[in-house]
């Protein structure tokens, strides 16, 4: 974050601070959305409305951008987000078995969030760490050379 956000600060204030920092140019829209996404975990309707008014960009455009990029989300995710790489190098290195085990352990399918909102299970395209595939990312932690047997142990590190 380039702008310090205090606990409990409302989205209107955060958007104001971000725009003061980045400026009103349309080219700053994606950097601003990235910061909001990383602070709140997703981009809410309120955030979109606020950005739209302050930057004078139609909310339809902001929504279309926010839903286009994989690292931005307009939906609230669980406390921990798991991204499993489903590209060919990880697949050939045994990713399919890890993926099956991951779904079984969590009781979730691709794109689902657990009822207690602890986990969201997503797939992703190549993350560029193919030398150690199969690869999964939990929040910001990257796990490489993952075997199906390691899955429960890795998950147990997250409370």
């Amino acid at each position: 974050m380039t702008v310090e956000v205090k606990e409990g600060q409302d989205i209107q204030k955060v958007v104001q601070l971000l725009i003061e920092h980045h400026g009103h140019e349309k080219s700053e829209l994606i950097p601003i959305l990235q910061e909001i996404n990383s602070k709140f975990g997703y981009i809410s309707d309120d955030a979109i409305t606020e950005i739209s008014e302050r930057m004078n960009i139609p909310s339809s455009h902001i929504y279309s951008v926010a839903t286009f990029y994989r690292m931005l989300s307009t939906e609230r995710h669980g406390q921990h987000v798991i991204q499993f790489c489903e590209s060919a190098p990880c697949h050939v290195a045994g990713g399919r078995m890890v993926w099956e085990r991951l779904q079984k352990e969590l009781g979730l399918k691709k794109g689902e969030t657990s009822e207690d909102e602890k986990w969201t299970l997503l797939t992703t395209s190549c993350l560029g760490v193919c030398g150690v595939g199969p690869v999964m990312v939990i929040d910001n932690d990257i796990y490489g050379n993952v075997t199906p047997e390691q899955v429960p142990d890795i998950l147990s590190h997250y409370s």
Partner: protein, 545 residues
Amino acid sequence: MKATRSMILVSSDQESMDRGALEVFETLQKQLVTFGLEEEISISMVDDISKRGASPLILVYPDAVIYGPVTPADVPFIVEEHLYKGRVVESKQISPYDLSGRVAWLSSRKGTLPAEHRIVLKNVGLIDPEKIDEYIINEGYEALGKILREMSPQETITTLKNSGLRGRGGAGFPTGLKWQFVAGAKGDKKYVICNADESEPGTFKDRLVLEGDPHAIIEAMMIAAYAVGADEGYVYIRGEYGLAISRMGKAIEQAREYGLLGENIFGTDFSFDLHIHAGAGAYICGEETALIESIEGNRGEPRPRPPYPTTAGLWQKPTLVNNVETLANIPAIVRNGPEWYKSIGTHSSPGTKVYTILGNVNVTGLIEVPMGITLREVISIYAKGMKDGGSFKLAQTGGSSGSIIPASLQDTPMDFDSFSKAGVSLGSGALLIANEETCVVDLAKVLLNFFRNESCGKCNPCRIGNQRSFEILTNISEGVGTLQDLKDLQMLSDQLYELSNCGLGQTAGSPLKDILAHFKAEVEAHIKLKVCPAGVCPMSGHRTY
């Protein structure tokens, strides 16, 4: 800073620090003084090498010897034997395999394997990327000084043209020609963009350059800017590459402090400044017009062409877009001249190529070798053969711009023209090497799943063609395919190629074309015999689509 004859790296990841890396570092410093070596040997701590159970590690260059786990008590002996007397301490030496981190792979190459030829990766793993001085002492910014003092922009472009350098992003377009187009385009404002949105599955060469030698990219972009008449640049780095973004940010700051970026560089009229734009997760943004849309704050949807970015790019201004690996060649070409560059590689594709080796082989990782090496050589020499005695079935050369290459083509020289004559493509340089346990239907299904997810959805042939191809492949893998499906796949492949707006769709059909051309019998077995010969596909008999 001055040149040293040897360099020592001490691992400083968390595990190493917990196990006394700092103490090892301090003892080394003292011991070097004791032996009077402190002027000759430099020593740094690096946080991105590790080997489980062997921390802390020390790496000695240029010998590329790795010791671990090293305690402070081991240090005097190592310094005396190896650094003073020149004898490797075999009792503490460990194998480079299983090491992780930036330096790890590189160190494993020296001594144990045939020499690579490093231009792009010359400094990677050998200098501290966060210190501009280390870049400068390794001939850094010399090429920039040379062109600003001795060469006109046109002479710079001519040098590039004569070198024969071709774009390393996948298409192989002559770089000098691209520069000429931008230089010749009308406009008071021009931009230079470094395409570091490396998202081709299996490719991480650009990440290693950005993480290991960011100043090389800055220098190359400045040379390009001078040549084409630009004064502002963007490095578009994919958002997932956090370390690369942070290192490039630091490098830009340092270059500004040194007056290498800014106004009137080296006292000349040339001014240049550079920004980073972090991607937000979209494969399509590696396509240059989509990348430009993304910088402008839009969805990453490719523009119709013409006009090409060389005449109307970022904010409709003439814009030069070059890939990281392409740029990383440029300072060396300027320093050593085009004739030197042409002496490496093949006639039609001079220079080296960085490959990422992946899949069912003994050694995976990164190599830089002259253009024209064959797949068989890569597998047998650099990858140390197939894993567990398996046999080579196919190689997938990476992402949308690549091909599925059967064993029959493993002696084809890997360069742009030889591959294109053989009807395949080099792609981004990822070499996913697969054994007989890989099913071509399953592999094509994974690739088409990638394309249907990453299609931007703007044009119908790509959005619908990829989805439909995935559905047909799914049916074949479930044992409910028909012979008509093969005809449909061929048709979809042709339509994707002919009708799509951009490179993503145009090449998305190539896995289909390749499996039908080289592995038709295996695909037919799924349909006629209801058997997956590799035993991978579910063959459940259920129809999903």
